[in-house]
Every structure is written in C-alpha cells, then in structure tokens.
Amino acid sequence: MLDATPKKLAERTSGSMINPAKTCQPIGAMYAALGIHRCLPHSHGSQGCCSYHRMHLTRHFRDPVMASTSSFTEGASVFGGGANLKTAIKNVFEIYDPDIMAVHTTCLSETIGDDVPTIIRQAEVPEGKVVFHANTPSYQGSHITGFSNMTKAMVTYFAESQLAEKEERVNIIPGFINPGDMREIKRITAAMQIPFTLFPDTSGVVDSPMTGSFQMYPRGGVTLPELKKTGDAKLTIALGRFASSDAAETLEKKCKVRAATLRTPIGIKATDAFVMALRGAFAVEVPRELEEERGQLVDIMTDTHFHFHGKRVAVFGDPDIVAAMTEFLLSLGMKPIHVLTGTPGGALGSGMAGFEGEVKEMLSAAGISGNVKSAGDLFTLHQWIKNEPVDLLIGNTYGKFIAKAEDIPFVRLGFPVLDRSVHSYLPVVGYRGAMRLIEMISGALLDRQDRDAADEDFELVM
C-alpha cells in the first residue's frame, strides 16, 4: 500500500498536490444549498462537475442528492453560458418545481467570466420562485470555501432587517458538518429554550427517512421566511471560522446582527464555549439535561483516561473540524503531533486567517511540538508519519490508505466517509458527540491492543 512513498521528506516546490486533503468549492456550495427547504442546487458548468459532486455527496450520505447542471458544451464555453443558464432555469422550474434554485459557478464559468447575477435577472423566473447564486471558483480555497460562499449568499440575497429591535433569537451557522451534527446543535439550543434559526440545515434532507416514496424535496432545510428573518435575530453564532464566519460577518454588516465565531463544538471545551455563548447572550440557565450530559462525558473521560492518555495522533481534514478535534485530543491528554488540512489557511476574508497559528498555539500551550500545515496533502502527512510514527490516525476515508500502509488504528471523521455507514446520522458535536468520539477512539486503540496481544496478555477487562 502506497509503496512508492519514500520516507525521506521530499522537497516540493511545484505547488501541486499528491493525494489531496481538500476538493473544490462547488461541492461545498451544492451541500450548503441542499440545506434550504425545497431548494435545487444548480451547477453552472460542465456536466461532469455536477455528476462528480452528486456522486461524492451521495456516497457520503447514502441518500439522494438532487442537483441540475447547465451542461456546458464547447460552444457555451466560447460564447458564454448565459443561454444555457436561462434554459436551465426555465426547465428546472417547469420540470422539477423547486421553490428556490441555488446556482453556483465552476472553474469553467468563472474562467470565461459569466456574469451570473445579470443572467439571472434576464431569465424567466416564475412568479413566487427564487433564483440566487454564489461565485465558487474551483481554483480558490476548497470545498469549505464553497460552503462558506453559498452560506454567505443566503445572507446577501435573503436576510432582511425589518424590526426596530432585534428579536430574542439566535442564528446558528453550523459549517460543513453532517446532518446528525446539525440535529444535535438544534437539540442543545432547544434544550436551552432559545429560539433559533440554523442555516443551512441539511438535516431532514440528506438523512431523510425511508417511507416507501421518494420526495424530491424532503421535509428538512431552512425555509426562505426563516432566512429572511435572520436579519432580525440578536446574535449569529458561526461555528467554525472557515465555513461559517464569512456569512455571520456579512449579516452583521448588512443587518447589524452581532456575530460571534466559535470553534465547531467538537469536544468538551468547544461545546462548553458554545453553551456559554448561548447562556451569556440570552441569560438562560443551562438546563439539567445538558449539565448531566456534560457530567457523564467528564465521567467517561476520567474513568478511561488510561485508554488514550499520551497516545500520539495524526489528524487531518477540514480546518474547522481539525482545529476543534485537536483541542479535544489535548483535553484527553493525547498528543496530536501531525495536524494537517488541505484548505489554504490564509487570504480571502477575515475568517480565513491562520489555521496553522491557531493549532500551533494550542499545541505549544500543551507543551507539544508537532507538524502543522494548511494547504497540505496526504502525501506530506504520510511522510511525516513515516518519520515520526503515531498510535492513531483520525481523518476522512482517504486516510485508510495511510492507516493500512503504516498499520495504524484509524478513526473516520469528517467529509467524506465513503466506506462506513451511519456516521452522518449520529453526532460528533456536543457532549454526546464527544462521548461517541471517545468510544470510537478507545475502541480503535483497544481493538489494536487486543489484536496484537499475546495469549497470556489478552485481557478480559480493560
């Protein structure tokens, strides 16, 4: 497995990727758009883009992912995609009848410079229907940037400030996480009895139940009226700087809704921060239900600390999830010595600064020296591991090649997970999500200990 990867660190200056840890913007935009009720994402580019994104999302969620395409040909690439998009808008509403069409661009339509807002204005949009767009050039950022841009477009197109005084309501932007995580964030917020709008919200869309009939637009998703009212809420909590803060800051500028950016609530500290932010802003007591869950989590952490304490970990994936996971690993007494994201860690807006700085600060506070990289790839991560081995690898499915090559226990986390099921239904966020993560981490480490134990060392109780 990956036998051509040398141990000696390769000098690389070309800027190319070998075994990437990111993909392109449009898939993130497509996923975000699925989080609006009765919305059909539309890919303005070649058919292949739409096909690949639907394929990948479908494999991760094992649920229908519906989206349409402008089906560019060479002619459209030369003369512009305006006619294609107008035809698509007409056909989509007549045939597939969504309420909203969310157009995102691709490297093709961006390179030729299609003016999407103008095309939309010139298109025949049926009465009561809405088309909006986000620019998502594939040659900038990553799929996380695409998610962020589409979420920001929801604010720029729809958010309105209609009331003189802000309402006692919080907007929560969850970031590029699973519907199971979105459900958990909603449950926590509801448990604190705070009115909220979560957007985008893919729960009930890509984790829809089996009923015996196919619903092109399932029950889930944030509604258009809810999106409009985000401008009247008193606070927006952006969970994850890379995927969510741009939309929150845009809403602050547009409608004067205070924005607070927090880590994705993975692990005890980030969940505490989320709960405290809600408590502080709305002056509500933390309910017994959550306090009990937190107590259970701490109980598990202390009772089983010897399962994981001091173990060296490599963690990779999307920046918001990796940063939060690193923090949790430190809370568990583990040693994240290789931390990598494929998403570039600078430029593009205030939310996009300094993944490396953020993680290094955490590591140095814990007295750990490690490799930290943004805009990295899995070839680099593999070389790091060959030089400084780890006890555990955490990341998306693509990590399995390294895990097999180096015979390392592997915990699947993030996007995409293509080779295991159920992950998208159950949370890794919140206190209960943290319990689940400990179960996964301990399970992986102890399974390995069992596998490698001599008969006389094989333990019944661990």
């Binding site: 497995m1 036998d3 096909s51 990948h56 349409s68 597939y96």
Partner: protein
C-alpha cells in the same frame, strides 16, 4: 407488460415543448415489426435536465487512462477533477513490485487563481519534474480540465519538453470537460493518443505465445478482468494486454502483436479496435463476458476465429466444467429472482450486457438504455455511415492511421473472414436494440424526471444503474443495483462473476430490511376495543 405510445406520450407531454420534442427522439418502444427503429444519441443534454452524464475528462482520465497502473496520471487543473477520479471507480490492479502501482495515488497541479490569470504551464512542468524525482515512473499522462483549454495552456508543448528532459514518454490529453456531450468524447481522445503514441511503440514483432489476444474495453471493475483472464488462460490464450483494466504501459506497447482483439465495451474503445485492424490487420471480435450464455458464446466465437481443433476442444471442456460448477448455485438463486422485472440503464455497454445475465436469473429487462452511447451502440454498426456529425462531435479529432507496411499481416484470408462474419460478430457490433423484447423501452440519456415516471408506469422490481439514482429508487422501496461500481462487490463477469451477481441480486430481493418500511402504527387503530353486549368495553 408493454408500454403504449399513448402512455409514453403522456409522460413526455408534461415536459416543456422543446424538451418534449428533443426527448421523444431519445426514447423508443421496441417494435418487432419495425426492424430499423432509429434513436437519437450522443447529442447534447438540455441544460437543467437532471442527467447522469459526466464529462470528457471523466471519460478520458477517469475511464480509459486511470486504470493504467504503472504510469503517473497528472491532472492539470483545479483540485476537484483529480480528487473525484481518485479510487472511485474500482478498477483493480496489481503489480509484481507494489511500488510500480500508482493507482492509490492522486496527482493534481491544483491550479490557483494566479495560474488561471498568468497561465499554468510552468506549474505543470514543475509538477512533472517533481513527480519524476520522487516516483520515477515509466511514463506520464497529463489530462486537461476545463480551464486549461480556456486559458490556452499548451500542454502538448509542456509534455514534449518534459519528454526531452526526462527521457520517458509524457503524453498530454486535451480532454477538457466541455468537449463533446458526455464521457464519450473523452474515450475517443484517450483512444487516439494511446494508439498514436503507445501501442506498437516497441521492437517486439511477435507475441510470446500462440493464440495471442488483447482484451479491449475491459476495466477490471471489481476484478472482472481477472475472472475473464482466468478462463482465457486456462483455455490456452495468451493475453497480451487488457485495455485498460489492470493494464500497463508495458503491455500496451506490445499490443500490436496480438492475433485478435476482443472488444467488451464497444463504446469506449471501438476506436482503438478499428485502428488496430487498419494498421496491423488484426480483426476484432465483439464479446460479452457478462452472463453465462454470453460468456460461452464469446469463448466459442473466439475458438471459431482461431479454427484450432485442440483449442476448440479445450474451450468446450472448460465451458462444461465451469457451467457444471456454477449452474446448481444459479438455479438456487433463480428461485428467488424468477419472474422479476428490471430496468437496466448503464454507461455505454452494460445496459446491454447485463440483460442476458438478468434473463438467466428469470428477470426480464423492461427498460434499458445508455448514458453516453452513440446510435451504433443501439442500432448496430450498420448505421455508422448514416450518423451525422454535429458541432459537438466535430470538435473531437479523428485519428487516421495507415497500414504499417512492415507489421501489417492479413490474419484471415478475405474469403474465410467473410464466411466467419456470418457466424460471429467479427469487427461488428449489432447493438442493443435487436436484443430488446417487443414492447420494452429503450431510452438514451435517461433523466431524473423520466426515471420517476417510468418507475411509476412499469413498477420494476430492481433498478440497475449508478450511485446518483440508487437512493432515489430505493426510497421508493425498490432495490437498486449499481452496475458501475457493483455496490463494492464483484467480480460479475465470466462464470464465477455470474454467481456473485446472482447472489447479490437475490440478496437485494430477499433482504428482510424492506419489510419494515411501514411502521406498525400506520395500519393499526390507536385504541383497541371490543363491542360487548350493552356497549363498548
């Protein structure tokens, strides 16, 4: 249960008029009384239609080049295109030295905005140099993505310069995603360059053993190619190369030495098959190793071609033994499948190939079609002269090869070839339509709307297609079988593969999981009560 023109008309009537007019030409009801039913294919999908189709890049790099295991395939473009074609197609491969197998790697120039603005040629050249330094592969391919053509990066020159620097072949494929109307354009582009630059690029003049064949259009999904090769080798064939599943640069170079080319997927590789015949005089034989009878027939046709008595005998011996081994298992699975009805909508050959295997399990195919085929894949190669070129097909270069005077050999005297052609599909593919049942539906580039409508109308028991419509169909309570990726199972080809397919399809029908769709409270009253004498208790 046949579909009437009226029912079909009602489905299409709900579409906007232009779409209706277009789509009506892509759908036909098989009518045995009409021998030459025409279907429109390989034309643009209308924007906004939810299609399963992909792009030229997917056909070139994803399908044809990707499986070549000992070459490094660099994708020049933004990150996504390379990422999505990384390990997602299940084209298995092994090499004697595992360090020569690059299939688990993904290489992208990861173009950034500055590369789009100022050009990406330097970055591509630097990437090639880096890859050479780290991996030292035998050869490199470069596949272009959409922006590359638009900004005018000259990848051919970059490749040529790299060849000079590194002394290996570096081939550039202008398979930008917007070319053509589907993956099909990319197949053609890949075929042209492999034929032009790799096949025959060797001093070998003769195959190492007799009965030398190439297996074209077999991508070793789930190990299909290995199951086919197992049988071919046992009969006594020498497999020179497989294009391109588990294929290698080294094998491709000597592919000109084969005496016969087998064509499994006609759509993706017929170009190379044809060019090999023109250049080297090697005929091709359309084979189908999906299904027991199709496999048997393909093996017998091969034996007929070579006309060797010992080979014929060995063929029959292997067939007899293989069938005896699998038939009892197939019979068991048939009990579960018998009487069921299938939709079979896949790619460019499997929509046809799987019908025989379904039939062997007692499953009737009531609707079939291709995602990216051409008219000849439906109507047979006899229609080739009548296919009109349009703006989209004109953009794909045609490679015209000429007879290689030193290597050209007449493999079959013309009179024998003519005689054989009456018995076996020698350099011919009769297409899908002839095998469709009277009254069944043939549909090209099936879209989401039609999928839902045809399911409503025909109520199939199983839907054979890909990942994008799998869960749509399963939400309706109908099992869907991925025939692109085999739902991560396989092999499905050959004799052993037929059993695997039968097992998996039977599992889909027999799974108790379907029985829980309706919750118990939906058909039970909320309150239990009895009517006693004198009133309710």
């Amino acid at each position: 249960m046949a579909v009437t023109e009226k029912e079909l008309g009602e489905i299409l009537a709900k579409l906007p008029s232009k779409v209706q007019k277009n789509r009506s030409k892509h759908i036909l009801i098989k009518d045995d009384c009409k021998p030459d039913q025409e279907i429109e294919a390989n034309t643009r999908t209308i924007p906004g239609i939810i299609t399963n189709r992909g792009c030229a890049y997917a056909g070139c790099k994803g399908v044809v080049l990707g499986p070549l295991k000992d070459m490094i395939h660099i994708v020049h473009g933004p990150i996504g295109c390379s990422y999505y074609a990384w390990g997602t197609r299940r084209n298995k491969a092994k090499t004697a030295d595992p360090a020569d197998n690059f299939l688990n790697y993904c290489f992208s120039t990861d173009m950034q905005e500055s590369d789009i603005v100022f050009g990406g040629e330097k970055k591509l050249a630097a990437t090639i140099d880096e890859v050479m330094k780290i991996f030292n592969p035998k050869a490199i391919t470069i596949s272009a993505t959409c922006p590359v053509g638009l900004i005018g990066d000259d990848i051919q020159s970059v490749a040529k310069a790299a060849e000079e620097r590194h002394g290996i072949q570096v081939m550039a494929f202008n398979c930008e995603g917007y070319k053509g109307v589907s993956q099909s354009a990319g197949h053609h582009i890949a075929n042209n360059i492999l034929m032009d630059k790799v096949i025959g690029n060797s001093s070998e003049e003769k195959a190492a053993k007799p009965f030398a064949i190439n297996l074209l259009g077999e991508y070793n999904i789930g190990g299909d190619g290995w199951e086919i090769e197992r049988v071919l080798k046992e009969i006594g064939y020498h497999v020179v190369s497989v294009m391109t599943g588990d294929g290698s640069y080294e094998e491709l170079r000597v592919a000109h030495t084969a005496e016969l080319n087998l064509v499994q997927c006609h759509r993706s590789i017929n170009y190379i098959a044809e060019m090999l015949e023109v250049k080297y005089g090697t005929p091709w034989l359309k084979v189908n190793f999906i299904g027991i009878q199709s496999t048997i027939e393909s093996l017998r046709n091969m034996a007929l071609y070579f006309g060797d008595e010992a080979l014929r005998k060995k063929t029959e011996e292997v067939i007899l033994r293989e069938v005896a081994k699998i038939q009892p298992q197939i019979d068991q699975y048939r009990k579960i499948c018998d009487g069921k009805r299938a939709f079979c909508f896949v790619g460019g050959s499997r929509g046809h190939h799987y019908q025989g295997l379904f039939a062997e399990l007692g499953i009737e195919t009531v609707l079939a079609g291709y995602e990216f085929a051409h008219r000849d894949d439906y109507e047979g190669r006899k229609v080739l002269p009548t296919i009109k070129t349009d703006a989209d097909s004109k953009n794909i270069p045609e490679l015209h090869v000429e007879r290689d005077t030193s290597r050209y050999q007449v493999k079959l005297p013309p009179e024998i070839a003519a005689e054989l052609s009456k018995k076996i599909p020698l350099s011919d593919y009769p297409g899908l339509n002839v095998d469709m049942q009277n009254g069944s539906i043939v549909v090209d580039d099936l879209n989401h709307y039609e999928t839902e409508e045809f399911i409503r109308l025909l109520k199939p028991d199983i839907f054979a297609s890909g990942i994008k419509d799998k869960y749509v169909v399963q939400k309706m309570g109908i099992p869907a079988k991925q025939i692109h990726s085999y739902d991560y199972s396989g092999p499905y080809a050959g004799f052993g593969g037929a059993v695997n397919f039968a097992r998996d399809v039977s599992m889909a029908f027999a799974s108790p999981t379907w029985n829980f769709i309706t919750p118990p409270w939906q058909d039970q009253p909320l309150l239990d009560g009895q009517i006693n004498e004198g009133g309710a208790a």
